[in-house]
């Protein structure tokens, strides 16, 4: 009572202040001590191991992010032995037993990258620094994936990229700690060019609309190179901002450009919007150079096809995976995903789910969470039974080599999910390419202490 009555004396304030200053002086020492106690970043010492999932829950790729989140949660369930086990029984490597990873139960943290590099890195840092995540996975934009991959390399945490299709992810910007299961734009070009040549002829004039970032740039380049190699001509390539919403100002000039094919290097909501608007402008009913005008969407997903509705019918594109594939693994994954969420998985769900399993499997095979060993277990790993046929994690650039699907929008879909049909499976030997055509270096293996 007397204390309150007299109020705070200067002496008391100083005393408390000094205590605080001393406290804050000691605090950093405690942190560094904690950091030295572990031999590598976020070594899981308890009975759980934490994985970090960063997804675009808002922004231009939000639909994809939502499906990605479903897939990650399913993967965690299966790793912990809950649910029907999903792909664990079909996976060619049999070390995963559904008892977590190395006997530790799998916990997870999630974050929103807002389809922005900054936000993605913030979320990943939170997971690494606060939540002790031993692995980061996710992203549906190559820009975000490349930014997060660079951060993970710095921090010494393995990054299992989600949907990223830019050549740069495993090309110019490849990192020792980053791995990509998804295919890339170069492979899309190799796969789709012959199909386009057969369907539309070898003397077409193409007009590109391109998302203005790493993925758009490399896809434009790859599709351009592949189509020009078979005789097509490129009239123009116009860059559009990501998340533009309205593409009419970009589509109008196409009409009088002398082009007879429009190639949309757009993904997510951008792809849905630009395709729908191009069809509404009547591009597909037009004739140009004496031929029917055509539209191509080189990278397409179920989610985009559902969003585009009528507009997707007959449109060609490429995909990493489709839920209607008839192999045992694809069936098992679709059943497992459908039972939990009441809808078939999209390609981003499959690649994200597989990435989580591949990481867990690599840790089991390495027998340790020590990142350099896990990286060596993933490099050059040959596996099957994940829905993409026999697959290789190439050691030179951490790119998975596997089949690529050329798909087309179905004319008469039987259900709302039955929107794409596979017209051709392009074999792994065709989709293969020399890793050295892209510059960039993987960098060192050295384990870091969270930077």
């Amino acid at each position: 009572m007397t204390l309150l009555k007299r109020g705070l004396t200067r002496r008391r304030v100083l005393q408390t202040g000094m205590a605080g200053i001393i406290g804050s002086g000691v605090a950093p020492l405690m942190f560094t001590k904690g950091a030295w106690a572990q031999e590598f970043c976020n070594n899981p010492t308890g009975d759980t191991v934490t994985l970090g999932f960063v997804m675009p829950l808002t922004g231009a790729y939000a639909d994809e992010g939502a499906d990605q989140q479903r897939a990650f949660l399913l993967a965690v369930e299966h790793l912990n032995g809950e649910g029907d086990g999903g792909l664990l029984p079909t996976f060619s490597s049999k070390v995963l037993k559904g008892n977590g990873i190395l006997g530790k139960k799998v916990a997870y943290v999630t974050g929103d990258d807002q389809t922005k590099s900054d936000a993605g890195r913030d979320a990943a840092r939170r997971m690494i620094e606060r939540d002790g995540a031993i692995m980061i996975s996710g992203a549906s934009s190559s820009g975000v994936a490349i930014a997060e991959q660079a951060l993970c390399q710095e921090m010494g945490v393995i990054y299992m990229a989600g949907l990223t299709h830019s050549n740069d992810t495993t090309g110019k910007d490849k990192k020792r700690y980053g791995f990509r299961h998804f295919f890339n734009a170069y492979q899309s070009g190799t796969a789709i060019a012959p199909v386009l040549g057969e369907a539309y002829g070898k003397d077409r004039r193409a007009y590109h609309l391109t998302s203005d970032y790493t993925w758009g740039w490399t896809q434009e380049e790859s599709i351009k190179n592949a189509t020009e190699a078979m005789g097509w001509e490129t009239v123009a390539a116009v860059r559009t901002p990501v998340g533009a919403g309205d593409f009419s100002q970009y589509i109008t000039p196409v009409l009088n450009s002398g082009a007879d094919v429009l190639i949309l290097n757009h993904y997510g909501f951008d792809g849905v919007n630009s395709l729908t608007q191009a069809v509404q402008f009547g591009l597909r009913d037009r004739q140009a150079n004496g031929k029917d005008f055509q539209i191509v969407l080189p990278l397409v997903s179920d989610l985009m096809a559902q969003g585009a509705g009528e507009a997707i019918k007959g449109i060609y594109g490429t995909a990493n995976w489709d839920w209607q594939l008839d192999d045992a693994a694809s069936g098992a994954f679709t059943r497992s995903f459908g039972a939990k969420y009441g809808q078939p998985p999209s390609q981003i769900a499959q690649t994200s789910y597989v990435q989580a399993l591949l990481y867990a499997d690599a840790v089991e095979r390495a027998g340790t969470f020590y990142p350099p060993e896990v990286i060596k277990a993933l490099e050059g790993f040959e596996f099957d039974g994940m829905g993409n046929g026999p697959t290789l994690y190439r050691a030179e650039d951490h790119q998975c080599l596997k089949e690529v699907l050329v798909v087309q929008g179905r004319e008469n879909p039987s259900t709302t999910f039955d929107v794409l049909q596979t017209v051709q499976k392009v074999g792994r030997d065709v989709a293969d390419y020399d890793a050295s055509i892209f510059e960039g270096e993987l960098g060192p293996y050295d384990a870091a202490l969270c930077a």
């Binding site: 200053i21 804050s24 950091a35 913030d122 979320a123 840092r125 939170r126 203005d212 790493t214 960098g443």
Partner: protein
């Protein structure tokens, strides 16, 4: 008179503020925010908000384009890393200079108008910077992919003294690495210096002039003052603060993306200032912390965590509570932020600082009731 002199009241504020900032790693633990990445953001955006408040709080000019200076600062800093050296001090100096020049150019044009026209002009300029960064200037800004360091950057100054390493270099301060908790302390010290300078501005005759601009610019004109140079100086100073914050963002995480310049980022600093309390020194800082906390912590909540939090409830009730609360966390974090913003603006127009003032005045009145009637409002005659 000593040029570092601060009035006693301000000196105490600075001391308390320093204590609060430097002990963040301790008192943020219960909030789940005591990790270096977020604490760095807290300090950096506090600098941004303090600088913004020099303009908005003192002169009343509502700029809707301050994120442009933040972005310019970041790009300058990353380019300094790429071309010259990984040391953060040149990066900070260049960022402040370049963003100051930008602010001079933009302010020179925009300050010809006041009120809503000024806001729209700054918004337009910022949006122009953003769009340029995305389109014409992509060779400099690397567009959506964001400007990043590469192994083969020139780094002229660094490579004169040492060999190229195997991995990517990281920013350093005089040889000391800028990562984790050390980087937080560096940024925190910069924040304290920036805060001190803002305090000096607030109590200086120059600050008084800025306040006069806010209260009645026409009267200033009539008394023979040309107000524009003062307003322009304030604009440039706050632009330099933003550039400094931008360079620190790049120093703690060497990457510069154009989305830092988007109008939503400019709006965010306005929100920070209003949420905390316009025209007060501490208010914008509190606002910045609140918003960054929401953005980073609330967006990371997911259903599993909610179920864990409410596990003490019976199963049925738990599901209902989780279903409702999950709309306000995770991707819905902006919803809860919006709600708080509406509540603050409606009930506490002076921001969080007004809340604190009201709260403390309750106690003060109870202890020593003031002269009767002096504090009471009464209708005018």
């Amino acid at each position: 008179m000593n040029i570092f002199y601060l009035p006693r009241r301000d000196a105490i504020t600075l001391a308390v503020f320093a204590l609060v900032v430097l002990t963040m790693p301790i008192w943020l633990v219960p909030f789940g925010a005591a990790y270096p990445g977020l604490m760095q953001k807290f300090a950096i955006f506090a600098i941004f908000a303090v600088g913004y408040n020099v303009l908005f709080g003192l002169t009343g000019y509502l700029s809707f384009g301050h994120a442009a200076f933040l972005g310019v600062g970041s790009y300058t800093a990353v380019w300094t890393f790429k071309l010259m050296t990984m040391n953060v001090i040149p990066a900070m100096i260049f960022a402040v200079i370049v963003s100051g020049l930008f602010a001079l150019a933009i302010g020179f044009v925009s300050l010809r108008r006041s009120g809503i026209y000024f806001s729209i002009l700054t918004l337009a300029f910022a949006q122009m910077c953003y769009n340029l960064a995305y389109s014409v200037l992509t060779p400099i800004t690397n567009g959506e992919t964001a400007l990043q360091l590469t192994i083969n950057d020139p780094r002229v100054l660094d490579l004169m003294f040492s060999e190229r390493g195997a991995g990517l270099p990281s920013p350093s301060l005089l040889g000391q690495g800028m990562s984790g908790i050390e980087a937080f302390y560096v940024v925190a010290v910069v924040l304290l210096i920036a805060f001190y300078i803002a305090q000096k501005i607030f109590v200086s005759p120059f600050g008084m002039m800025l306040r006069a601009i806010k209260s009645n610019q026409t009267r200033m004109h009539y008394t023979g003052f040309n107000t524009r140079p003062y307003a322009l100086t304030a604009f440039v100073i706050s632009g330099m603060y933003a550039g400094l914050a931008g360079s620190l963002l790049a120093a703690t995480d060497p990457l510069a993306g154009a989305e830092r310049m988007q109008w939503t980022a400019s709006g965010e600093v306005v929100l920070m200032t209003i949420l905390g309390g316009v025209g007060t020194l501490i208010g914008p800082v509190i606002g910045a912390w609140l918003i960054k906390y929401f953005e980073n912590i609330f967006s990371g909540f997911n259903d599993a965590m909610l179920h864990h939090t409410f596990s003490w409830l019976p199963q049925g009730a738990q599901d209902v509570v989780v279903a409702i609360t999950s709309k306000f966390v995770g991707e819905g974090w902006q919803l809860s932020l919006g709600l708080i913003f509406v509540l603050v603006v409606v009930f506490l127009p002076g921001g969080v600082m007004e809340g604190i003032r009201r709260f403390s005045s309750i106690f003060r009145n109870r202890r020593e009731p003031g002269p009767t009637g002096a504090l009471k409002t009464s209708p005018a005659e």
